[in-house]
C-alpha cells in the first residue's frame, strides 16, 4: 500500500514539473496578467485585438486576461482583489474615480517618471484628466469614448424625416422623436431611447465644460429632467419605470429596431458593426453628435476615458510598463481602432484605421461627429464624489418614477449634497 502511495505521489510531482520543462524548452516566455471585464463577452473584440497586437510586437510575452464581472461591479471586485494583495501586472481602469480611490489606497504604481521618456502627443493632454488629486499620474488612457447619437436610417426613411445633423438642439431632437414614434403595443417603435443611467438622462448638463457633478448643486439637471418627462409623456421614449421593471437592455432596443434614435457612448460602434455583420439586424445605421442646449456650442459632448494602470505589487513591472506604453501609444491605438473601438491616442494613421473598419458609417455627418468641439468628463474624480453620486442616483430614481416632482427631487439632492460637502 505504502509503495503504491509513494509511486502515485512521485508521478504527480513529475507531472507538475513537466509543463515548466516544456516552457523552458520554448525559451523564457513571460506571462503578463491583465485584469479587465467582459473579456470574452461584450468587449471581446478589442481585448482580442490588444492581445494579438501586443504578442505580435513582443513575441516573448504572453497576455493572460483575468476576466472579472462586467458592468458596474468591475470597480468593486477589482478593488477588493487589489486590497487582497493581488500580483496581477496590469489593471484596466473602467471609471476615472477608480484612479483616485486606488491611488489613495496605494494600489497603483506611479507613472510620472516613466512617462517623461515617451511621446504622448497623440493623447493631446487627455492623460492629465486622469491625474489624481495629488497631481500624480497613475494611469494612462487608451480608450476615449464619448456620447453620440445613434440612429436607424430605415425608420427615418420610412417616416420621410431627414437624418439628424450635428447641430441639432435638444428642442429639435424632442420634436423629431415625437414625429418618429409610431405603432402601439408590441409593434410600437419609439422615437428615441434614454437608458436608466444618470448619464443617459441628465449628464448632458456637464457638456458646457464648466458644470460637474462634484459641485454639489444639481439645478442644471432640471432642464434635462423636464425634457425626458416631455418625451415620456408624449410616449416618444420608453418610460424609466418600464425599463427598470422589465430589465430592458439598450442594445436590444436598437438592434431590435424598436427605437429610431439612441444617445449612447461610442463603445456601441463596435457592437453595431459586429452585430450587423453577424446578421442580428439588417437596417442601415449611422450616428451624429448629441444635440446641444441653445446656450452652448454644437458638437459638445461628455465622455469617459478608459485607462490602463500598473499594480504596485506587479510580478513583472517592467513588462507591464512596456505594455502600458504600447497600448496607450500609436501602435495600441491602431490595433483597437481596427475593430471599431475609439482609442485615446489620435493620429492620422489611427483615424484612418478607425473609420476604415468594414461596416463603419461613411457619411460626412458621422465622420465629423468623431471630432467633437469639446468632451467634458462624465464624472470628475474627487474624494466625495462617490458619496454624492449615491445620493444623486437615489433621487434620480425617485424623479424618474414620478415619486417626487423634479423640483422636489433636485431640492433633496442639493440638501443632502450640502450635508456631505459640509463633513
Amino acid at each position: 500500500m505504502k509503495k503504491i502511495v509513494s509511486l502515485v505521489l512521485a508521478i504527480a510531482m513529475l507531472l507538475a514539473i513537466l509543463p515548466n520543462i516544456a516552457a523552458m524548452a520554448e525559451g523564457e516566455k513571460t506571462t503578463l496578467k491583465v485584469v479587465s471585464w467582459d473579456v470574452y463577452s461584450g468587449s471581446a473584440a478589442w481585448h482580442a485585438a490588444i492581445k494579438d497586437g501586443f504578442e505580435a510586437a513582443y513575441p516573448n510575452v504572453e497576455i493572460e486576461y483575468v476576466d472579472l464581472v462586467s458592468g458596474n461591479e468591475y470597480a468593486t471586485v477589482a478593488g477588493v482583489q487589489l486590497a487582497g494583495g493581488d500580483t496581477s501586472d496590469v489593471y484596466f481602469i473602467k471609471e476615472i474615480p477608480q484612479i483616485q480611490q486606488w491611488s489613495d489606497q496605494g494600489f497603483l504604481a506611479n507613472l510620472d517618471e516613466l512617462v517623461a521618456e515617451v511621446d504622448l502627443s497623440g493623447l493631446m493632454g487627455m492623460e492629465n484628466n486622469l491625474r489624481a488629486s495629488d497631481g500624480l499620474l497613475y494611469a494612462l488612457p487608451f480608450r476615449s469614448d464619448f456620447w453620440v447619437m445613434f440612429y436607424n436610417k430605415d425608420i427615418f426613411n420610412a417616416a420621410g424625416v431627414p437624418y439628424p445633423t450635428n447641430d441639432w438642439t435638444w428642442a429639435e431632437y424632442v420634436e423629431i422623436a415625437e414625429q418618429l414614434t409610431q405603432g402601439e403595443g408590441i409593434d410600437k417603435v419609439y422615437g428615441t431611447y434614454h437608458h436608466t443611467w444618470l448619464s443617459a438622462a441628465v449628464n448632458w448638463a456637464v457638456c458646457d465644460g464648466v458644470y460637474t457633478f462634484g459641485d454639489g448643486n444639481y439645478d442644471p439637471l432640471k432642464y434635462f429632467y423636464e425634457m425626458i418627462q416631455e418625451l415620456e409623456d408624449a410616449g416618444a421614449c420608453m418610460e424609466y419605470s418600464e425599463i427598470r421593471a422589465l430589465g430592458i437592455g439598450y442594445r436590444d432596443m436598437i438592434y431590435g429596431g424598436d427605437t429610431a434614435m439612441l444617445p449612447m457612448g461610442t463603445w456601441l460602434v463596435g457592437g453595431m458593426i459586429n452585430e450587423k455583420a453577424a446578421g442580428t439586424f439588417d437596417f442601415d445605421w449611422s450616428f451624429a453628435s448629441v444635440p446641444h442646449k441653445d446656450d452652448i456650442a454644437a458638437k459638445s459632448t461628455f465622455g469617459n476615458l478608459t485607462g490602463v494602470s500598473i499594480n504596485k505589487n506587479a510580478t513583472n513591472p517592467d513588462v507591464a510598463w512596456e505594455f502600458v506604453k504600447w497600448l496607450s501609444g500609436e501602435e495600441g491605438a491602431k490595433a483597437i481602432a481596427a475593430v471599431g473601438t475609439r482609442p485615446a491616442y489620435v493620429s492620422d494613421a489611427v483615424v484612418a484605421a478607425y473609420s476604415s473598419v468594414v461596416g463603419f458609417p461613411t457619411d460626412a455627418t458621422a465622420l465629423d461627429a468623431l471630432l467633437p468641439n469639446m468632451v467634458s468628463i462624465e464624472v470628475p474624480p474627487g474624494a466625495k464624489v462617490p458619496e454624492l453620486m449615491t445620493i444623486v442616483n437615489q433621487e434620480h430614481s425617485l424623479i424618474m418614477t414620478d415619486e417626487v416632482t423634479i423640483d422636489e427631487g433636485i431640492a433633496s439632492m442639493n440638501e443632502r449634497a450640502a450635508e456631505v460637502m459640509a463633513d
Binding site: T76, G79, Q101, Q105, F107, R244, Q394, S397, V404
Partner: protein, 311 residues
Amino acid sequence: MATTVKQIPTYKPGKRQRRNTLIAYSFLAPNLIGFAVITLIPVILSVALAFFNWNGGTLDKISWAGLDNFKLIFDNFSFTKNDLGISLKNTVLYTAVSVPLTIAFSLGFAMVLNRAARAAKTFRMIFFFPYIASIVAICTCWNYILFKYGPVNTFLNYLGLHMTKSWTQSRDFAIWSLIIVNVWRHAGYYMVMYIAGLQNIPKELYEAAIVDGANAWQKFRKITLPMLTPTTFFVSIMLTITCFKVFDIVVLMTEGGPGRATQMLVTYIYELCFTQIKYGVASAVAMVLLAVVVLITIFQFKAEKKWVNYL
C-alpha cells in the same frame, strides 16, 4: 459486616488519555480550522474594524477612530432622512410582516398537505419548488407579474382599484413586492418543517379529543397549535434572521429604490463597503445589525418559556 469498598480508579490523564484527546481534536481540526479561517476570524476583525478608519488599501492606511464611525451613522438619526434610520425601519417592517405571514402560509399548507395521498405529495413538491429555484429567475418572473400592466395590476384594476405603477417602481408598493416574493419563496420550505412537526403529534391526543366531542377548530386550537410550538419557535427564529439579512431579492428587484424606499441594512452595508469603500463605517452598521438581531433572539428565547410546550 466487613465490606470491602472497591476502589474506583481515579482519573489520571495518562499517556493513553492524552493520545485519545489528540486524536479527537485531529478529527475536529479540518472543520474547526475552516470555521476559524473563513468565519470566526473575519467576524472578530469586522467587529474591530468598526472602531477604525479604513478606506481600503494597505494595512498602514488604518487609523484608530474610536466611536467616530458610530457617531457618523447615528448623526441626525431619523427614520425618514438618515440612511441608518431608513434602512432600519425598512428592515424591521419587512421582517415584522414577512415572519408571521410566512408562518401562517407554511402552517396552512402543512395542515392541508399532511396526508399520505399521492396528490398531497405532488403539491408538497410544487410548494417546495420556489425554495430551490434560482432566485434570479424568480425575481425576473415576479418583476413581470408585478409590472404596471402585469397580471396582478390587471386584476386589481378589474376590481376597481386604480393601479398605475409597477410595484417595484413605487415608493409605497416596492417593499410589499419584496415581502410577497419572500413569503412565496420561504413558505414551502417551512411547510416541510411543519409537516414533520404535525407527524410527531401523538394520534391518541386527537382520539381523546374526539371522544370528548371536540370539533375541528377546538382540536386545532387546543392540540395542534400547542403541540407545534417548538416548531413555530424554531421557524420564527430562523425566519427572523433570514429576513434581517435580506439582500438578494432587493438587489434583483428594486436595487434599494425608488430612492431609499427599499434600502435594507445589508444593502446599506454593501453600498458603504463596496461603492463608497468605507470599511470602518460599513462595519459599524454591521454591528448595529448584529445588535438588533441578538436583542431580538434573546427576547425570543426569554419569551420561549411562556408559550413553547415541550412534551
